[in-house]
């Protein structure tokens, strides 16, 4: 599929490819700091915290219950799962479905998200398209079909040109996604310059530890706990202990640290 190789002017490299990389990178960093400035603290409800801890406790009971005596395990299972008075049966939380239109905090969050992420991308993309148009910037290393031509080769009206040769606008978009790992290196995880993850989850609210419907979580936890049985891990612990001598290595150390430093 490869046509004759084009030789590009090396000044394209200096004046187009590298500047676009720098611009994308700097804009990303600026976006990160602006987002941090505009960031408002999410207020957690007491009930949510409490519920998430209860679910955690139930999960731990399922996993580590075998280290408890049978009576203790039965007591806790009964507390959670009893048909009339069990926690998961009795407690029903009021679930207010969060309407995206009317819930003010979500609206402001969405606006902030749009402002800091989508707007700069459109602006800079458009500017690059206008400033660096009319020439081929780079070649993608894999062959593309002709359908990609109008998308990737804006401003270049050559019918016979291979679709692998792309314009600067596509190089810009390539950078936006490619520099994600660079951002991770410099700004740590959870940085706001990471656009692709924001585009993936539309909920600009932070993910709460408890899903928005605690009742469902309670029900699934109840089911999981019902089927767990108690197999005491300490059934034959003495016999296992007795069969060999204890290892006292390192019980007495030679040096005694008495001073501060």
């Amino acid at each position: 599929m490869a046509g004759p190789e084009l030789f590009l002017d090396s000044s394209i490299r200096i004046w187009v490819v590298l500047p676009i990389v720098f611009i994308t990178f700097l804009v990303g960093v600026i976006r990160h700091y602006v987002t941090q400035l505009l960031h408002s603290d999410k207020k957690v409800e007491l009930e949510q915290v409490s519920d998430s801890q209860v679910l955690l406790r139930s999960r731990i009971l399922r996993e580590n219950g075998k280290y408890l005596p049978k009576q203790a395990f039965a007591m806790r299972k009964h507390y959670f799962n009893n048909a009339e008075s069990g926690f998961f049966k009795k407690v029903k939380r009021k679930v207010i479905p969060k309407n995206p239109m009317t819930d003010t905090s979500m609206v402001t969050d969405m606006m902030k998200g749009n402002l800091t992420n989508v707007l700069p991308m459109i602006l800079i993309g458009g500017w690059i398209n206008w400033a660096f148009s009319g020439f081929v910037t780079t070649k993608v290393p894999f062959p593309l079909t002709l359908r990609f031509k109008p998308m990737l080769q804006r401003g270049i009206e050559l019918l016979s040109l291979d679709a692998s040769w792309v314009s600067s606008a596509s190089w810009y978009f390539l950078n936006v996604f490619g520099l994600r790992s660079m951002y991770n290196l410099l700004l740590g995880h959870n940085n706001a310059a990471d656009q692709s993850s924001i585009m993936q989850d539309h909920m600009t609210g932070a993910a709460m530890p408890v899903p928005p419907d605690p009742n469902k979580a309670f029900k699934s936890e109840w089911e999981a706990l019902e089927i767990v049985n108690h197999h005491w891990a300490l059934e034959s612990v003495e016999e296992e202990l007795i069969c060999r001598d204890l290892n006292f290595g390192g019980m007495v150390s030679r040096e005694l640290k008495t001073t501060m430093f």
Binding site: V44, E45, L46, V49, S50, Q53, V54, L56, R57, I60, L61, N64, G65, Y67, L68, P69, A72, L234, V237, E238, E240, L241, I242, D245, L246, N247, F248, G250, M251, V252, R254, T259, M260, F261
Partner: protein, 278 residues
């Protein structure tokens, strides 16, 4: 009075790193912290950068322990200046009031924090600590129970509650708290050992058997836990000496006790040998 850096011939970086180590590992050597921290803050404050704020907090709490109200107040003022309206600083101000035994003022302060932020656990814990300091154990137990109903996952709270129950001799409830801790930290030999001790104290054949099992578990998790070894020996011999047990159980327990005794001997022998060599 020679300064710390002269006495031990250390640089300010070493002092700062030592403070960090004490902070990370939760040491409570308040006098040492006050000595090192005070000098660090007086002589080298400008070199510390942003670390200085957490060092202020650490030194302030240590100063309260050593009744150095002057040092505590100066640290608190610096923190208040840098972080006005912060709940964390407010809690420190409350701690200072507690140190001066102005308990009502401290309670008012903590209540104001909780009004602002009902999920603030630090303020609630300070209120309970005040009740304990004033000796009002039953109220402290009641408040701690309410706290734990909402924050079931708070392990240091469970541990504190178990201690309070042990002081009130309510061993059944203390055992419950320790079971919570064992559940969340199944590989911690100290919780197993404490649980076994509580069961042993409760007495009765079932509890003794349970305690023997958990002493054994603690030993399995950490071979060098001498307390657990002694506990294992005592519970096994107690069961063996009891008139109500069957012959098989008696035989088993005599075997366990004999094994424990031989292990204790081995431990002391090894220590004597090591000491002779030193």
């Amino acid at each position: 009075m020679a300064s710390v850096s002269e006495l031990y011939d250390v640089t300010w970086e070493e002092m700062r790193d030592k403070l960090r180590k004490w902070r990370d590992e939760n040491y409570r050597n308040s006098e040492q912290i006050v000595d090192v921290g005070e000098e660090l803050l007086n002589e080298h404050a400008s070199k510390l950068g942003d670390d200085i704020w957490i060092i202020y907090e650490q030194v302030m709490i240590a100063a309260l322990d050593c009744s150095r109200d002057d040092l505590a107040v100066s640290c608190l003022q610096e923190l208040k200046r840098q972080f006005p309206g912060s709940h964390r600083v407010k809690r420190l101000a409350g701690m200072r009031l507690e140190a001066l035994e102005r308990y009502e003022d401290a309670t008012k302060l903590y209540d104001s924090i909780l009004q602002d932020d009902p999920t603030n656990t630090a303020a609630r814990k300070r209120k309970m600590a005040m009740l304990k300091a004033q000796g009002k154990s039953p109220e402290a137990i009641r408040d701690l129970n309410e706290y734990l109903e909402q924050f079931v996952g708070d392990q240091e709270a469970w541990h504190e509650l178990s201690e309070l129950y042990i002081n009130e001799h309510d061993y059944a409830k203390a055992a419950f708290c320790l079971e919570e801790l064992m559940m969340t930290n199944p590989h911690n030999h100290l919780y197993c050992e404490q649980y076994a001790e509580v069961k042993y104290t409760q007495g009765g054949l079932d509890n003794l058997e349970l305690s023997r099992k958990y002493f054994a578990q603690a030993l399995k998790l950490n071979n060098r836990n001498m307390r657990a070894l002694f506990g294992f020996y005592m519970s096994a011999s107690h069961i063996a000496a009891s008139p109500k047990v069957s012959a098989k159980v008696k035989k088993d327990n005599v075997r366990y006790a004999a094994w424990a005794a031989s292990q204790i001997n081995r431990a002391y022998q090894s220590i004597i040998r090591k000491c002779d060599r030193l």
